[in-house]
């Protein structure tokens, strides 16, 4: 087995007193496209924020390329982020810059390339996501799917060694969704990037990824290749893949009091 | 493209600001004498300076020739020592006299210089010996009342 690109070793994380991840361990191999799936609030996004170094675990280690993120200085952490692309859930384009300036942003901030070359690179990156010719538009003039693609072009501007996708399929129509999924797969194959994608869109993800982790209640409860997941008869996986409301995962929030008590129907209240 | 227009506007903005400051300095505040190279100091001692303040004008025949630079109390004589900065183009003779005057009845106080007849002029840092103090209104009224009372006392005494 080769050395993993990303490794979680017994990671625990909590926001204040609310535990999000509990003693989580997994590995992602170099060059793989991996999906992390789970219901809302299962700590998927926190997982990405741990990899990008935006938050630090209370226990355990997050290693990227063999280095512990928690031990990095501010400058080293920024160095790590320069080699990383992050696609935000809603794109997070800079609304005061044009599309072209948005894509050029990482290039201008981190390189001393001449403006002509930057313009050419921007054209190439936009061409890669099929949006060449939109350089002069403002982000407010784009549809949701186009904005997501511009954000993708911006994320890959510095040819990152690691791509992180936060819910890349949320809120897109089926065609945009297909285009984004196709782009993610294509970029991964073309650039040889290691990629981690957080999503709850099971069917689309299974089509493109190499490996899947399922997260629930802060733990990894299942993993496997897409073929293994589809063939699995674990009740948990079946519920998730088929989208049934009841099963091992409870749809309702675990309220401390019963519904009857909340409505004042219990004996003694009336 | 877009940047040059912004640069242009910011340039106009800053130029307007500089023009405003220049206008305020030259037209609103008179940025004329004050600089030490064009003035020379003179010293005058007064028994009482009344309400004279630093930067008050020094006038000769009603024309401003300088300003009061500093006012301090002489620790030996207990008189007020006033330093004047006079414009270099005006020279005063050694027997020039200085008095503290008031513009109008209740206006600001200033120093009036009256040129003397001595052919020798005062050098820089020279002392004006002929000085008369400020007229303090309360003292003036006090004096008036006293002399009025004395006259009132005198008359019946003479009649008796």
């Amino acid at each position: 087995m080769t050395e993993p690109f990303i490794e979680f070793r017994g990671v625990s994380f909590a926001y204040n007193d609310r535990p999000i991840l509990k003693d989580l361990s997994f590995r992602v191999e170099r060059g793989q496209l991996v999906a992390i799936m789970g219901g809302s609030g299962s700590g998927k996004t926190t997982l990405l924020r741990l990899i990008s170094g935006q938050v630090r675990p209370q226990q355990g280690q997050v290693l990227v390329d063999g280095r512990d993120l928690a031990r990095m200085s501010h400058a080293e952490l920024y160095e790590h982020r320069r080699r990383m692309g992050f696609l935000f859930q809603f794109g997070a384009l800079f609304t005061d810059l044009t599309v072209g300036e948005n894509v050029a942003f990482p290039l201008k901030e981190h390189t001393d390339l001449p403006p002509r070359l930057i313009d050419d690179l921007v054209t190439l990156k936009l061409n890669a996501v099929g949006l060449r010719g939109t350089e002069k538009l403002m982000p407010s003039e784009l549809s949701g799917g186009m904005a997501r693609r511009v954000a993708l072009a911006r994320a890959i501007a510095l040819d990152p060694a690691l791509m992180l996708y936060d819910e890349p399929f949320t809120g897109l129509d089926p065609i945009s969704l297909g285009v984004i999924a196709h782009l993610i797969k294509k970029l991964n194959d073309a650039l040889g990037t290691t990629a981690v994608m957080v999503t709850h869109d099971v069917h689309k993800s299974l089509d493109i990824v190499d490996y899947v982790f399922f997260v629930a209640q802060g733990k990894i409860i299942a993993e496997g290749t897409p073929a293994e997941v589809r063939a699995s008869d674990s009740p948990w996986l079946r519920q998730f893949v088929d989208g049934a409301p009841e099963g091992p995962v409870h749809f309702a929030y675990p309220a401390p009091t019963s519904l009857a008590a909340d409505l004042g129907l219990e004996a003694g209240h009336a | 493209m877009k940047r040059t227009t912004i640069d242009l506007w910011v340039g106009v903005f800053v130029a307007l600001g500089i023009a405003a400051v220049v206008f305020l300095s030259l037209k609103v505040a008179n940025l004329v004498p004050a600089s030490a190279e064009q003035t020379y100091p003179l010293v005058a001692e007064f028994d009482n300076i009344g309400g004279l303040k630093a930067k008050a004008p020094v006038k000769s025949a009603g024309v401003v020739v300088g300003r009061v630079a500093a006012i301090e109390l002489d620790a030996q004589s207990y008189r007020a020592k006033v330093t004047l900065q006079i414009d270099k183009q005006f020279q005063f003779s050694r027997d020039v006299s200085a008095e503290i005057l008031t513009s109008g009845l209740l206006g600001e106080q200033y120093i009036g210089l009256t040129q003397g007849g001595d052919p020798d002029n005062l050098a820089a840092g020279g002392r004006i010996t002929l000085t008369s103090s400020a007229v303090v209104l309360e003292q003036l009224i006090g004096k008036f009342m006293t002399s009025f009372a004395e006259k009132g006392d005198g008359k019946p005494a003479a009649a008796q």
Binding site: F88, L93 | V10, F13, A20, L24, K27, V28, L31
Partner: protein, 261 residues
């Protein structure tokens, strides 16, 4: 029972602790801005862009307000001064009130409501739409890239706007006093020039506006950066910028006046 009595007290205590907390955070924020100012001032283009939004776009409101304030001063000043037979001193009155107090204070209040609120809303929205976070993830420090240029733009713009406000105000006073009422042109200016001192009036007024510029812009960028990243949070932060700026300007004005004049 006791609880209902104590609740307001507890609320008050909570508010005070929160205020002190924010004051500490704001101070640390100012230090961070100063620390990262070097790299952002090295790319001065960023600051120039913000001077355009904060300064140039505030010009119209500053020019028009300055003109009207000067005209009102001219009218009111003339009415009062002419009762004492000293209408000649109108120029001095207009210039001194503007240079010492009204210019710096009113320009700062207008700047806070025009440019300060816009800065807060912009930074707050950038935070709410994850733009600041995105920058951070792209290894670009948002304080250096977003906050520091806006801060310096405000600090540069404020004295310029105050100086323009003063000139417009004096021009307004001149319009009313000389052109409308018919005071003597020469007396107006010479009385003004006699009364106004370059250092103690003009320079001190500009120092005041510089201090106000630092205060207003710091409040504006801080409120934006500290805003709760929701629509309600950003609108609350924008309101707080205007209210806090107004109070801070007036309080600082008292302190500065006590020191200067």
């Amino acid at each position: 029972m006791l609880d209902t009595l104590l609740a307001p007290l507890r609320h008050l205590g909570h508010l005070s602790v929160n205020a002190v907390w924010r004051l500490g955070f704001a101070s640390r924020f100012l230090l961070a801005i100063l620390r990262f100012s070097g790299q952002s001032l090295a790319r001065f283009q960023l600051t120039i862009r913000e001077v355009y939004f904060a300064g140039v776009l505030s010009l119209i409101i500053i020019v028009v307000s300055g003109l009207f304030v000067g005209m009102v001063l001219g009218l009111q000043g003339y009415n009062t001064l002419s009762r004492f037979g000293s209408a000649d001193a109108l120029g001095a009155l207009v210039a001194l009130s503007l240079l010492r107090e009204l210019g710096p204070v009113l320009a700062a209040l207008l700047f806070a409501s025009r440019a300060g609120s816009a800065m807060t809303a912009e930074i707050g929205l950038m935070k709410a739409t994850e733009q600041l976070e995105a920058m951070n993830v792209m290894a670009v420090n948002p304080i250096a890239r977003v906050v520091a240029p806006r801060f310096w733009a405000g600090v540069i713009s404020m004295p310029v706007l105050a100086a323009i406000f003063n000139v417009m105000g004096i021009f307004g006073g001149y319009l009313v006093g000389v052109v409308m009422i018919g005071l003597d042109d020469g007396t107006f200016w010479s009385q003004m020039q006699n009364a106004v001192d370059l250092h103690s009036d003009v320079v001190n007024g500009l120092i005041k506006s510089l201090v106000f510029g630092v205060a207003v812009t710091l409040i504006a960028v801080f409120e934006g950066y500290d805003a709760t990243p929701t629509a309600a949070g950003v609108s609350g932060a924008t309101t707080r910028t205007v209210v806090t700026s107004a109070l801070v300007i007036l309080a600082l004005d008292f302190v500065l006046t006590a020191f200067m004049f």
